[in-house]
Amino acid sequence: MVSVCFYFQVHQPERLRRYSVFDIGNNSTYFDDAKNREVALKVAGKCYLPMNTLLLKLIDRHKGKFKVAFSISGTALDQFERYTPEVLESFKALARTGCVEFLSETYYHSLSFIYHRKEFDEQVALHRKRIKELFGQEPKVFRNTELIFNNELANHLQDMGYSAVLAEGADHVLGWRSPNFLYTAVTAPNIKLLLKNYKLSDDIAFRFSNKSWEEHPLTVEKYVRWLNAANGNGNVVNLFMDYETFGEHQWEDTGIFRFMELLPEAVLRHPDNDFRTPSEVADSYEPVGVLDVHNFVSWADIKRDLSAWLGNGMQHTAIKELYGLREAVYASGDEQLIADWRKLTTSDHFYYMCTKWFSDGDVHKYFNPYESPYEGYIAFMNVLNDLALRVNRQREPRRLPLTERPSAILLRTDGERRSEHQQIHQHP
């Protein structure tokens, strides 16, 4: 028996505008509404709407035998609601078919698990609430931002009551083992790991239209032959990819929609095959082994690690300072301030600061609204300075000098804060 398990990631960050040093203290509008709206409308037209229509058609055509799962970030849901409500409606229509599972993630698509466990729990709870409200589902399966995973996460999710978690089937994690079985983590025997079959996933997500790929053009027949090869040698083929693959990364004229339209029928032609959602997979199969994932693994780049978000000093400083401001921001009780801070936790802001130009630079550049990682860092740090100023205004009405350590000023007692302030003045 081979189950095919599709999971699509839907995410849009709230991009920052080019926030300048002259905006600090004068303008606390951080997010580029025009740009965010433009992207949402563009991707809705090219991907979300046509692909949701196609999936609805396929679910209807195959009478419950074709199933998929989505993980939709809260920042994406918020933007659909604001800019393209018809996208939200079409996801609700998919939810009503009973053939679509919605997964759990952090509301802000953040790296909070790595930096602040309490913040992580809160963002997960916010997301669960939103999914329940919109789609009437209580997620049982978790997927962390960019499939970031390790033993500790498995343990934490087990405590939270999840039945399964998605992760990257990275070579250095699996070794000789196959991603087409379920596993458990050494720290968490009761939670099942669904591992991405990165080869078969990336054949669609990355290589589909690559003319220099030896398998190009990828036909449905050829692809199903590869899927069938797992029969007798695995329980499930996990095809995890960005939803924007369809129509946005792979344009319509590459034939990607046609490919997806014909795929379910070709998969189901083999009597041993079916489609299952992640929680159905977890309910259907038993783990065959235990994995020990001490270091974080992700689905990004060639290295499958955290270096896309935390690979250089700017990324580390920015995220450390952001989380350093958290307690003061929450203590302010200012809802707008808290909302702004949370939107800054989205992993994309740190991704934009990545300087790994040479191996993965092209992919990074494609997604980057800034001309360089330095621009991304400057805008982000300027925003943090304004954020610190807003927190501080509630304590003392005084302007602070620009600093790369806004959190240090806020978290001290009043006396210490003053002396730090003077120090910065003396050594700018």
């Binding site: 000093g313 400057i378 740090m381 790369e404």
Partner: protein, 169 residues
């Protein structure tokens, strides 16, 4: 110090930087027909004591200035290539260049601005001075990047092109 080097934009940006951080000093090195006008403009903006005009500097003095500076700016309105930012980066100084310079197309680890956008120029000068991590990354990557630029490499690339086009391997 001529129109196409954009020194007047630099002076305007300096005023904006000083509005935020009065401890910054600016050095405008070189000579040219705009020099008197620039000195007057700095004075009329009230920043005459913050902008230093050393006049002509030779190579050795130039290198010393690069090393003393926390950030180097080339705000050229028009510059077919622009070799000075490479000299500054070679000395380990974070560099800001105008997008209108030819060198802007080949450098990755420099900050870039439109020459007319004095707010953005001031923003980036302040960022490079205030954010030490940014300063460090620009310095480290920039020094490394600029070591890849040398006449031997260019010469061998040109030679290779001649061979290729001439059909002579």
């Amino acid at each position: 110090m001529t129109l196409q080097k954009g020194p007047d934009y630099f002076i305007e940006a300096a005023k904006k930087v000083l509005d935020i951080d009065p401890n910054v000093k600016f050095v405008v090195a070189g000579t040219g027909d705009m020099l008197p006008q620039l000195i007057e403009r700095a004075a009329s903006l009230g920043i005459g004591n913050k902008v230093i005009f050393p006049g002509f500097v030779d190579r050795e003095q130039g290198d010393r200035l690069y090393r003393m500076a926390d950030v180097f700016v080339m705000p050229s309105v028009s510059e077919p290539f622009g070799i000075v930012p490479l000299e500054a980066m070679y000395q380990g100084t974070p560099t800001i260049i105008s997008k209108q310079s030819g060198v802007s197309e080949v450098l990755r680890h420099a900050l870039k601005v439109d020459f007319w956008d004095i707010n953005d120029l001031a923003n980036k000068i302040i960022a490079a001075l205030s954010y030490s991590t940014l300063h460090h990354e620009l310095k480290q990557h920039g020094t490394y990047e600029v070591q890849g630029f040398n006449w031997d490499r260019v010469a061998s690339e040109v030679e290779g092109l001649y061979h290729e086009l001439g059909g002579n391997p």
